[in-house]
């Protein structure tokens, strides 16, 4: 049950759920939450492969194969925090100008 394949499958399911949210929802905040879901799924993949590569270091001749994966996950978390801050600031600016967070209302370029 607890295997590398199952961890990756779980990450795939979470990523697909996030993609569903971005495609189907029209509330900007929920779309941002869905992006966070997808970033978390990628983190899960990084950490799963990091664990799989812990004992493979002598074979692959990369001394810190496992640590690299976990560090990539840490970088993803840091960048996700920056992304959330900027994204939410944009949502606030948008709401101040348009009084809505619905993407159906944001079609000024089209009209």
């Amino acid at each position: 049950m607890f295997s590398l394949s199952n961890c990756l499958i779980l990450a795939g399911i979470i990523f697909a759920t996030g993609a569903w949210g971005v495609l189907a929802r029209r509330n900007v905040l929920v779309m941002l939450i869905s992006v966070e879901l997808m970033l978390n799924a990628v983190n899960l993949v990084f950490v799963s492969f990091a664990r799989a590569h812990t004992n493979m270091a002598p074979q692959t001749l990369q001394p810190q194969a496992g640590e690299s994966g976990q560090l990539c996950a840490l970088f993803v978390i840091a960048i996700a925090a920056a992304e959330a801050a900027v994204g939410l600031a944009i949502v606030i600016a948008l709401f101040r100008n348009r009084q809505t967070v619905d993407t159906r209302e944001m079609r000024t370029l089209q009209q």
Binding site: I14, L37, E67, V86, L88
Partner: protein, 178 residues
């Protein structure tokens, strides 16, 4: 079924259910609140995968900072009742759900096929007391700190610059008069 299997099944169930709930609730407040069990489940998965430091950072940054930021903005922008009745109307939601299910299927097939036999056995045999190249226990702060300040020093500094720029940008964007 070992203890790790049981914990993994529990975390997988919690994460999947709360992720689907977060995406499908009409009220965005519920969406944000459903992210909390999701982040807790992910944290437990990281602990299970021998990444205690990543798990701690996940809980502090996501469960603490980002979730509160989302809730704060949600309360700040004061949604009107009709916008709380936001339904799925981008793509028709069934089409989007079908696309997402297809994506999940493709990812599942590839993640089963793309795992080599060595990776499978290495994953199974990794026990709690694996020591890393740095000599510390794998996944600990000591074993991550070495490479972070040696081979990953440039990206680390770039991330700090990025966060400063992001904070300044966020303050500038959300100021009333620029």
């Amino acid at each position: 079924m070992t203890f790790a299997d049981a914990v993994f099944a529990l975390c997988a169930a919690v994460c999947t259910v709360s992720a689907v709930a977060a995406v499908s609730r009409r009220n965005p407040v519920y969406s944000v609140v459903y992210m909390l069990p999701f982040f807790v489940g992910m944290t437990m998965l990281f602990v299970l995968l021998q990444a205690p430091f990543v798990a701690a950072v996940q809980m502090i940054i996501y469960g603490g900072a980002i979730l509160v930021l989302f809730l704060f903005v949600l309360m700040l922008i004061n949604l009107k009742p009709e916008e709380l009745r936001d339904v799925f109307e981008g793509l028709p939601w069934a089409l989007a759900a079908f696309a997402a299910a297809a994506l999940a299927g493709v990812l599942a097939v590839f993640s089963r096929a793309g795992v080599s036999e060595e990776q499978r056995t290495a994953f199974k045999s990794a026990t709690a007391a694996v020591t890393s190249a740095a000599g510390a226990e794998f996944g600990s702060v000591a074993s991550l700190g070495g490479p972070l300040f040696k081979q990953f020093l440039v990206p680390f500094e770039l991330v700090s610059v990025l966060i400063v720029v992001a904070i300044l940008g966020a303050v500038l964007l959300s100021k009333k008069r620029v």
